[in-house]
Symmetry: C3
Subunit: 343 residues, 3 copies
C-alpha cells in the first residue's frame, strides 16, 4: 500500500508547512527512530523533537513546526488522532481472507438471523434465535450461544465465547478467547458447602466497545452487567457480575473489577488495578497501575496505591516512609541525649 502526500493530507486534515510535493509517495508508517525514506512518522510529545530531527521519515505529523527538519511537516492540533487515521489507511485489507459468506463447517441454527455481508468462519457455532447485524465478522471457532444479538459491523475474533442472551452493540471488537456471559462467582452456603446461585442476568455491551483477548465478563446475578458506549477493555481483565462501566472509559490489562462495582464515564484504569465490589468510581477519574481500591471515590479522583488514596497523598506518604530508617536513628539519638541530660 502507498499513498500520496495529498491523500494523507486529505485523510487527516493536516496542514503542510512550507512548500511540498503533493505527489510524494508514502509507503508505510514507523516510529521516528525506525522510519526509512518513504515512511511517515509522528511526534506527539515535543520533548522528542531531537528524534524528529534525526529521522529518515519522509513526512512527520506534529502539532507545531520544528526548525531543521528534513521531513515534510504535517501540522495538526491532535497529531495522535491524525496518526490513527493514517494507520487506518495502512491497515492490511483482510477482505480476501474473510469473504462475506458462511463457512460450510459453521453450525448456524435455523432460527438465527444473519445480516448481509457477514463472514462466518470455519467451525463457528451460532445458536437459536441469534441475531447478527450487517457486515459482521465472526471468526473461526467462535461460539455465539442462543438468544444473543450482535449489532452491525462488529467483529468477533477466533475462539471467543459469547454466552446465551448477551447483547453486543455496533462496531464492537471482541478479541480472541474472550468470554462474555459466564456465570458470576455467586454461591450461598449450606453449612460449609457452596450452593450455586444461578446467574439470571445478562451482559450488555453497547456500541463501540472493544474487549481484549482472554478477558472475562460475567453475566449479572439478577440485573445485568453493562459496558457502555465507547468503553475499551484490554486483555485478561476480569469483570464480575453486575459491574457497570461508563461511556468512553478504558480499563487496562489484568485489572480486576469485583461484583456490582460502578465505574463512571471517561474513567481510566491502569493495569493490574483491583477493585472490591459494591463501590463507585466517579466520572473522569484516573486509577494507577496495581492500585487496590477498597472504597468509593468521587469524580475526577486521581488515585493510586494499596490501599488506594489520592495520588499526591500517596506520593507524599511514600516519600515520608523512606525517611523512617533515618528517623529511627534520630529518635535513638534524642533518647541518648535525653538520658545524658537526666544523669
Amino acid at each position: 500500500m502507498s499513498y500520496t502526500l495529498k491523500q494523507i493530507i486529505n485523510a487527516t486534515g493536516a496542514t503542510c508547512a512550507g512548500q511540498y510535493d503533493e505527489t510524494l509517495v508514502i509507503n508505510g508508517t514507523a516510529t521516528l527512530e525506525a522510519a526509512a525514506v518513504g515512511d511517515i512518522s509522528f511526534l506527539s510529545n515535543p520533548k522528542y523533537a531531537s528524534a524528529a530531527k534525526e529521522t529518515s521519515a519522509s513526512a512527520v505529523i506534529l502539532s507545531k513546526t520544528i526548525e531543521g527538519l528534513k521531513a515534510v511537516q504535517l501540522v495538526t492540533a491532535n497529531p495522535y488522532l491524525a496518526w490513527a487515521k493514517i494507520c487506518e489507511l495502512f491497515a492490511p485489507d483482510r477482505s480476501a481472507h474473510l469473504p462475506a459468506n458462511i463457512s460450510q463447517t459453521a453450525s448456524v441454527h435455523a432460527t438465527a438471523i444473519i445480516g448481509t455481508g457477514c463472514h462466518i468462519g470455519h467451525g463457528v457455532c451460532i445458536g437459536a434465535s441469534v441475531k447478527i447485524g450487517n457486515r459482521c465478522i465472526i471468526h473461526s471457532g467462535a461460539v455465539i450461544e442462543e438468544n444473543c444479538t450482535i449489532g452491525d459491523d462488529t467483529e468477533v475474533h477466533p475462539n471467543v465465547v459469547v454466552h446465551y442472551g448477551t447483547s453486543i452493540g455496533k462496531r464492537c471488537v471482541i478479541w480472541s478467547n474472550a468470554v462474555i456471559g459466564s456465570y458470576g462467582f455467586g454461591y450461598a452456603q449450606d453449612g460449609a458447602r457452596f450452593v450455586r446461585i444461578h446467574q439470571l442476568g445478562r451482559v450488555i455491551l453497547e456500541d463501540d466497545v472493544d474487549i481484549g483477548a482472554c478477558t472475562t465478563i460475567d453475566r449479572g446475578a439478577a440485573g445485568d452487567t453493562v459496558i457502555k458506549r465507547g468503553a475499551k477493555i484490554d486483555n485478561l481483565v476480569q469483570i464480575a457480575h453486575n459491574v457497570q462501566i461508563g461511556e468512553d472509559s478504558a480499563i487496562a490489562a489484568q485489572a480486576g473489577l469485583a461484583g456490582s462495582l460502578k465505574i463512571g464515564d471517561r474513567v481510566k484504569v491502569a493495569g493490574q488495578a483491583g477493585f472490591v465490589g459494591h463501590i463507585e468510581i466517579g466520572n473522569d477519574s484516573f486509577i494507577g497501575a496495581k492500585a487496590g481500591i477498597a472504597k468509593s471515590f468521587p469524580e475526577k479522583s486521581n488515585i493510586t496505591g494499596y490501599p488506594a488514596r489520592d495520588f499526591m497523598d500517596q506520593r507524599r506518604l511514600e516519600a515520608s516512609l523512606l525517611k523512617v530508617p533515618d528517623l529511627i536513628k534520630r529518635v535513638s539519638e534524642l533518647e541518648n541525649q535525653m538520658k545524658s541530660k537526666e544523669s
Copy 2:
C-alpha cells in the same frame, strides 16, 4: 417461567409471615431496587431494610419479619440459600439447545465411552480412552484429550481444553476457555539455557468443583495437582503444578497459586491474591484481596497485605504509617528543643 407462592415456599422451606395468597404468581427475580410487581427479591443484610420497605417486589425472602413491608415476607434462617433455590427455579431451561446427542461435527475417538443422556456439541474433540459419565454437557469447541475421565452431570463450556489424563468428578462446571492440565512452568538450566522438565503428573478435580473462565490449572510435575470436593475457582486464576486446594475452599478471580502450595479446607481467597510456592495455608483461613503471601499460615488465619500478615496487625500498621509525616515533624521539633536546651 412463573411459579405460585406455594411452589416457592415448597422449594425453599421458608415460612410465610401473616396471611397470604398461595396462588400469588411470581414471574421473576430481582434486586430490591430493580424489582417490579410480580418479582421476588431478598434481604440478607438487615441494614438494607429501608430498601425492602420501598421495593415493588411482590415477595421478599428474609431472615426476620420487618414492619411496614408491602411485599409478602418469606422467612427463613438462611435467606441467601433460599435465594439460591429460587434462582434455580428461574434458571433458563437450555435443554432444547443442548439435546442429548453427539453432534455430527464432533470427533469422538472409537475407544471413548460416552454415558447416556450426554450432549456433545459442535466441533468437540474427544480423544482415545476418554470416559464421560451420564448426563454430561460438553459444549462446542471443547477439547478433551486422551485418557481423561469426567463424572456424571458435569458441564464443560465452549472451547475449554482438558489435557490428557485429567480426572474430573461429578457435577463439576468448567467455564469457557479454561485450560486444565497444561504443563507446569518447570525448567532446569543448562548454563543459561532452559531445559524443559516434562510434567508427568495429572490434574484431579474432585466432585462439585467449579472452574472459572480462562482459568489455567497446570498438571503436576511428578505427583498431581488436586482440587478437592466442592472447591470453587473463579475466572483467570492461575493454579501451578502440584498445588492442592482443600474441600469447600473458594478462590476469587485473578488469584495466583504457585507450585506445591497447599491450601486447606474452607479457605477463602479474595481476588488478585498471590502465593509463593511450597507453603501451607491452614483450614478456615481468609486471605484478603491483593495479598502477597510469602510464608505459611496456620488454620483460621485472617491475613492481608503485601507482604501478608494478620489482618488486625496490618490495619494497625497501616494506621501507624499514616502518622509518619507528622512524626517526622515532631522529631524535628524535639531536636530543635534539645538543641536550644544544649545552648
Copy 3:
C-alpha cells in the same frame, strides 16, 4: 515405560556411587516423599537430605553422595538437569494420538505450505500463505491466520489463536488458549471518544520460546513485539505491543508487561509482577513476585516491592516500617520528658 539403571545413566551422564546392578529396573519418577520401590527421585537441595534417607525410591539423582541412603545414588553436577533428562524418558508417547496427517475437518488454505510429518488436528483453521515447518503439531481447534510462519518441531496446543503475520520459530510450544498477535491497546482521543489506532506491527517469537496457557501477546503498533530465543513465558501473562524480551529470560504467571517495555537477556520475573511501559530492565536481573516496576533498572538488578526498589533496600525498609508503631510511642515519651524538663 521402564528403563534399566544403565539406560538412565547413559541418558543423564551421572556417575553411580558404589556398586550397583545395571539391570535394576526403574518404572517411574516421583518426589522423595511419594516414591515407591522402582521409582527414581532427585535431591537438588542438600537440606532435604533427611527425606532422601527415608525415601522408598530405588534410585536418587543428587550432586554429592549421602551416608545411609538405601537408594542407588546417581551423582551429577547438575541434578535438576539430569532430572529433566529422566523426565523426558518417562514423558508419555502421544504419537498414536497425534498422527502425522491433516484432519479432514481442518480447513487448510490452498496456498498454505505444511511441512512433512505434521499433525494438524480436528477443526484447525490455517489461513492463506501460512508456512508450517516439519514435524509440527497443531492441535484441535487452533487458528493460524494468514501469512504466519511456524518453524520445525513447534507445537501449538488446542484452541490457540495465532493472528495474521506472526512469525514463530523452531521448537516452540504454545499452550492452550494463548493468543498471539491481538491488537495492542492503542487509541487516540477525539474529544472524549477513543479512536482505534490500527496496530500495524507483528509478533515475532524466536526459536525455543514457550508460551503459557491463556497468555496474550499483542502485535506491535508500528514495529514488532519480539520474544527472543529461549525465553519462557508462563500462563496468563500479558505482553503488550512492542515489548521486547531477551534471550533465555523467564516470565512467571500473571505478570503484566506494558507497551514498549524492554527486558534484557536471562532476566527472571516472578508471578504477578507488573511493569509500566517504555522502560528497560538490564540483563541478568531478578524481579520479585508482585513487584510494581515504574522505572528502568540496570543489569543484575534484584528488585522487589511496590514501587519496586533494590531487594535489600526493600527488606530494610519493610523492617524499619514495622518499628513505626513503637517509634510513635518513643516520640511521645520523649515529648513528655521534654515537657517535664521545660516545666
